[in-house]
Amino acid sequence: MKTKYVIKALQTMLPIAAIVAVMGNACSALNSSEKSGGSLSGSFCTAPPSTEFAVLNNAATASTVYGSQVLENMASCTNLGHLGLSRRTMDENAARSPSFSQYGYVGDVTSAMMMGVTALAVEVCNDLANKERDIASTNRLIFNDFNFATDVSNSDIDNALTRMARSCWGRNPTDEERAIVREEVLALGTNDARYKAIAVCTSVLASLDGIKQ
């Protein structure tokens, strides 16, 4: 029951956290590094209809993962692979995939899709936390500072967020993003390190930068 409660709390808070954490930064990050084209510039966050956007010459087109790529992207960047995903995660993906974009158009990103991405991210992160909990910290990829038997510190959370961001965003988190995630994780009101691990992981996977292609 407690697990369900925490997961539900995550599912409620994290989309907000993700959007706040990323929307304020990913747009500018995208604009500065990839020069999203035309009317997408500065408005990746409020994308126009999928097939109707102006194109800038010699500029990359912003796009997202689509269809089965949503789960595969999460499995790949967390290095879980298909075999590291639980049946529960596969079932969640099957349930949520109708809400995912089928072509990767930025304009297809809807609240329904992000809810689905978040729900799926929670399950993938649950798998990741379970996997890394059961191996020595020196062999972990993300939560190498976590002591899953006790609580974790702010610096542990920061370190995990950095590792997740480098894995799935391809960059370091900004100070603002660190502060938001730290705040949201603390707001969970739990001392369970595994739940905090799931929260940190989900904040990255369920973000717009997490689904960017």
């Binding site: 990839e34 689509y66 298909h82």
Partner: protein, 754 residues
Amino acid sequence: MRTVYQTNSNRTQKTKAQALARDYFMTNERFHLYKILAFVASAIIFFATIQSSALDINGAGDRTGVVALYLFDETGGTVANDEITAGGRLNLTLSSSAAVLGNGYLQFIASSAARSLTPATKIIDQCRVSNELSIEAYIESETENNLSLAEYGPARIVTLSQGVTLNNGFFLGQGYNAGFFYNVAMNATQTVGMNRLVLTGPTLTTDPSDPQVVRPRNLQRIVFTKDSAGVSRLYVTDENNVPILRSRPTTLTAPFAGWNSNLQLAVGNEVLFDAPNLPLLRPALPNTGERTREVKDWRGKVHMLAIYCQALTEQRILGARAPTNWAASEQAYTIDPNLVITEERRLAQIIYRRLVGSNIAIDHPILAAMEAQLVGRITDPAARLAAARLATQQPGFYNRTVKDFAKKLSNREHEVSVPLNDFSAMVIGATRDNRDARDLLRADFSYRADTTRTAVPANLINDILSSNRHYESLEVQNYDLSSVLIPVNTQYLYNGRGGTVSGANYDTAGLLTSRAFQLAHGIAGTNRRLVEFAFQEFLCRPITQWADNTAPDSFVGRDVDRFPTGEHTKYQTSCRGCHGQMDGLRGAFARLTFETGFLKHALVVDPITPLPNPDEANNNTIMSTMNQVPRGISGKYNKNNNVFPEARETTDANWVNYAVTGINGDYFGWRRPAPSTAPINGSGVREFGNMLAESQAYPNCLTEKVFRAVCKRDALPSDAAFISRVAASFKTDDAYQLRRLFERMAVQPECIGQ
């Protein structure tokens, strides 16, 4: 401590094989000797094939988690011994002479059972603790009582129960519902009438497109496994003795904590099948006769039975055929938060992401290797191509990017959510093997799974030609397509009567004669869609853009009204433009139709006799025949032939291409040297495909589609010069290799930005 039993099983195998041979020789006449020898040979092959599996038929192998094991190798008597002594032997006692031990198996020749006389305490206790269960059985089922089985089934192959009425425990059963099936049912608590949780292997029918799950009188290995989370799977070996996953992974949340402590283990029937004073079923079953509810008799032979209180992993069940974890990195790596992210590393990440279709850690060694190609040469096209080449070596490039690229081409809706099919497999394989992309339209080849490294349905007729099961299973089980697909140097055609022929002499041509393409465009209709979509998908030209009212209409079919609504002008201005072109070319497919689940070729499938009405061409439901009017030509070409009977009748596979003048000539590259305006003539699919492949439009079209896949938008008219430039390189520098085209596209500033 785990003990692995390694026996000299070769001698034991031979002994069992000899016993089988002796059994058949004694019960069959001499002229069946050849059948005996064939069975012995297949049995030996079976034993050899399953050496890498969890337990072989002799019980040799990894016995970790085995709670009870029966080899049925007694030479007679009434007791089948449990080989596992831990927890006490749970021997099975035969209830009557209708259950026979000897010859290396336990055979049920009438209603009987072999059951434990005491509760199966060690199974109950251990499985309650683990909440996991696996059943592994080598059996030969009998077919005598299929109608009865439909009435009272599922018959119990093995059960842990206190009888049907108490409804507790589990069973592995065989049933019949328009065909035989295996199923497993479990119950959590001892509650009368509680619904059982059932996991069913699909039903066999006479339709070859249905999976052949139950193979009566053939040795089959069945493996059922459930883990503590409830994830359950059912595997049954096919004709090649490969364990095939015959169920969608299902979650059966049946905690064993509710099991009754008095459950007994029984083979061949329910535990209480012969209990006295039980009420008979009323009314009596029409085919089976009078019996009680507890009688669930099974017919057949059990060669080995193992009960585990442990879930078996995919690796343990499939061995070398288990899917690999290709989406995870093969190389070990660590995250270095202090590593500076250079511009070269960032460019490498962008190229990787666009080609492989997923994110990867910025610290991953593959990005480091790509970065090394770019250092000091970030704007050098050759350096960028070298970096891209590393990305296209990754499994994700083929399993995501190329697969989705191909899937979109394979269906009319351009959806990526369709299952993997033969069309997509061909594109993936050809891309991986650097095959000339022109072969995709003109060469006789295909791709399918290596059956030594995959456990997928692989019967040529049932699973590849008559259904998509082979390819769908590859994708469902997440096999690495970049490593398990192998080329086959021909396509096969099914004759509808259990036989196949190589397409070498029957004009098969790459994607054009793939099952997926024919299913999408060659079903029903008049085969005009095949031409329309061949142009649309491979030359990027919808019919509305290459229709030409000035082209001759000598090939327009007899089913096209020359006076629609009474006006010939309407025909000249509206109908002729499309039909003149399409009808001229559709002769290429004149011998083909897609019906009853597979592609039919008029020279391979028998014609309907006497000569049928071509108007019924698309109503044929008989697999073994094809509406051909005249003989050798699909009847759909001459249906509605009374609309304009003066027009040309299709009597051969000749075609003519009139799109050689004007804008069409320029776009497709078929313009004849002036002053000639002669059309291009040909015959059959292969020549048609070759014409498309050699056109100027084909490389341009492929480039446009790769642009969409990599650059994430459709090409605009303003991109035309860029597309032409890249297409030219694709032809001359890359020798039409699709992989190189993807690499070239992913490094262009026009695609990924400056």
